[in-house]
């Protein structure tokens, strides 16, 4: 299933369901890496450009962008079934639903052990500190958000060297808990570790890890699926069992780690936290300018309100943040400031704390050969003189500039532009029939026919 050379061959968690896709432009125009085109009335994801951020998933009006997950039945292959949960899982439920009720519901679903991934945050902090001392690149960019790592790989390849190659909490927690269970006498092949993910990027990170050979996580369960399962169990009567211990190393620091500013508060020196992929994109675009110099650390998260705003999260993101902050305060009240919660005896920083090499995977170049690239660039600039520049996406590409690139790369034609089509018809370079065929090729055979089932039309709900 997985290619050995996973840095080149990406696994993506996002896919288009062609039965549901209506071939509109919503996903295409929000994609931060211009990774979507419409052909034959369906959205197509260009795998080398996609960073699994999930903007398309949020924008789709008919839920045609789907996120894969492993079958829940898969967990029963393992006698010991661990669900690794990020703190945002609890945060999305209303306050009246206690954490213990949630944990009990998870046991009812079939998990034997529940472990919170932020338990290992102090280990991440120590590894980060060591990495900052040993590496001079500034600003250091957090490795926490996998969509951001992928965005840098494809769009800002010259910043790959600035990524802080520290294993994120999920990987540390998976390794730690596996070791801990092994130490208690459970054979390794009986342990299955499943991660409840708030987003698509973390799925892609588990299925094709960047900078590590294999993920310690066995499988993935989507958070929205689990949310419904938990609520279903909470509706029913069930036997209250002893609450499991899920937080042997959890601290107030860990509980808010996945929220915006969760990392920067621990950073020495000048540090910034930026959330939302558009904000991150704008920031990285300007990073080489002198104005943004002298920053030591950047916490960059693809989602608005970080993981609380993950695409697979069900609760209101602001209420999720509120609940987590309150939970962190409760922990804080009984914490000793100097106390570190480390995984000693099970993990050590040098062996488990760091990621391997992260390869740049630049997507933007027109040609490897400079003279060919120059020719294509000249052609592209000339094309832009004729394209209307209003980014209507009527050609099946997100904007005029992307269309001009697709044309010079021979992935599209000038006649795909609906405005240039008019010119070409007027100059007898294109017949009306040809123009209609082009439209059908991009937007589908039935696009020009009457259809009352679309949103806002007469039979909208049929």
């Amino acid at each position: 299933m997985q290619d050995k050379n996973h840095n080149r061959d990406f696994h993506h968690a996002l896919a288009v369901d062609n039965d549901l896709c209506i071939g509109c432009t919503h996903c295409m125009t929000v994609c931060p890496t211009q990774a979507i085109r419409v052909r034959k009335g369906k959205a197509n994801i260009i795998v080398n450009r996609c960073v699994d951020c999930g903007e398309c998933y949020k924008a789709c009006p008919v839920s045609a962008i789907v996120v894969e997950q492993d079958d829940l039945e898969m967990i029963f292959r393992f006698p010991v079934r661990v669900i690794l949960i990020p703190s945002v899982l609890i945060g999305q439920f209303p306050k009246k639903i206690m954490a213990t009720s949630i944990f009990n519901a998870l046991k009812e679903i079939g998990f034997t052990h529940i472990y919170e991934v932020e338990n290992c945050v102090d280990m991440v902090l120590d590894a980060s500190k060591q990495f900052m001392l040993e590496h001079k690149e500034r600003p250091m960019i957090s490795s926490y958000c996998p969509a951001i790592i992928r965005l840098i790989q494809v769009k800002y390849p010259n910043l790959v060297g600035n990524i802080m190659k520290v294993n994120p909490p999920i990987d540390m927690a998976a390794m730690y808990y596996r070791e801990k269970l092994k130490a208690s006498g459970i054979p390794e092949n009986e342990i299955g570790l499943f991660y409840a993910t708030p987003c698509a990027a973390k799925i892609a990170a588990v299925k094709s890890p960047v900078g590590e050979t294999e993920s310690a996580v066995t499988g993935i369960i989507k958070m929205n699926f689990l949310y419904n399962q938990i609520l279903k169990f909470l509706q029913r009567k069930y036997i209250e069992t002893e609450p499991p211990q899920t937080d042997d190393l959890l601290s107030s620091r860990g509980i808010v780690w996945s929220l915006t500013r969760g990392e920067v508060v621990h950073s020495k020196g000048r540090a910034l936290a930026i959330d939302g992929i558009k904000n991150v994109n704008d920031f990285l675009e300007n990073m080489e300018n002198e104005k943004l110099d002298h920053i030591d650390f950047l916490e960059l998260r693809a989602c608005d309100e970080s993981c609380a705003g993950g695409i697979l999260m069900s609760g209101n993101r602001f209420l999720t943040v509120e609940r987590l902050k309150l939970r962190a305060e409760e922990y804080r009240a009984r914490e000793d400031d100097k106390e570190r919660k480390l995984t000693e005896g099970f993990l050590n920083i040098n062996e488990h704390g760091f990621l391997g090499n992260i390869e740049p995977r630049p997507m933007g170049s027109l040609d490897e050969d400079i003279s060919a690239a120059l020719k294509k660039m000249e052609r592209k600039r000339r094309l832009m003189c004729f394209l209307p520049g209003l980014d209507c996406a009527g050609c099946g590409a997100p904007d005029c500039e992307t269309l001009s690139e697709d044309i010079v790369q021979r992935n599209a034609q000038i006649s795909h532009c609906i405005f240039l089509q008019q010119q070409m018809i007027k100059q007898n370079l294109l017949s009306q029939e040809q123009a209609i065929r082009i439209t059908a090729n991009i937007w589908g055979e039935q696009r020009l026919e009457k259809n009352c089932n679309k949103m806002g039309a007469e039979d909208e709900n049929n």
Partner: protein, 141 residues
Amino acid sequence: MQFKHKIAGGDFAKAGNIASSVKKILRQLNIDHAVSKRIVIALYEGEVNVVAHAYSGIVDVDIDEEKIKITITDKGPGIADIEQAMEEGYSTATPQVREMGFGAGLGLSNMKKNSDSMNISSVPAEGTIVELITYIKPDAR
């Protein structure tokens, strides 16, 4: 391939826009990151110089297979003593400009550092022309 950009004197908010658009073009031309970074830094400094000191300016960028030539031509006060202006820390920037975080007197020396050759000519009270050449393959210098 050539292109031309205009710079308005005094518009600090837009200083760096030309450097950004050149950076995008260099990325598409698959030019080595280390080389493009130097070019972008040098051009950014040049833009700031025009914004801070001159009334208006024009940036001409000429890219061929071997090198990138950037010519920044401005209408402005000119530079009386180019040698002195090249010294690190020498600046004629006004206090207001310095308050905005510019005018540290590093512009010209940074431009020289980040290009393979730099030529300046200037006529006081008329303007300045700075020509920067950077080779695309670092070993072609």
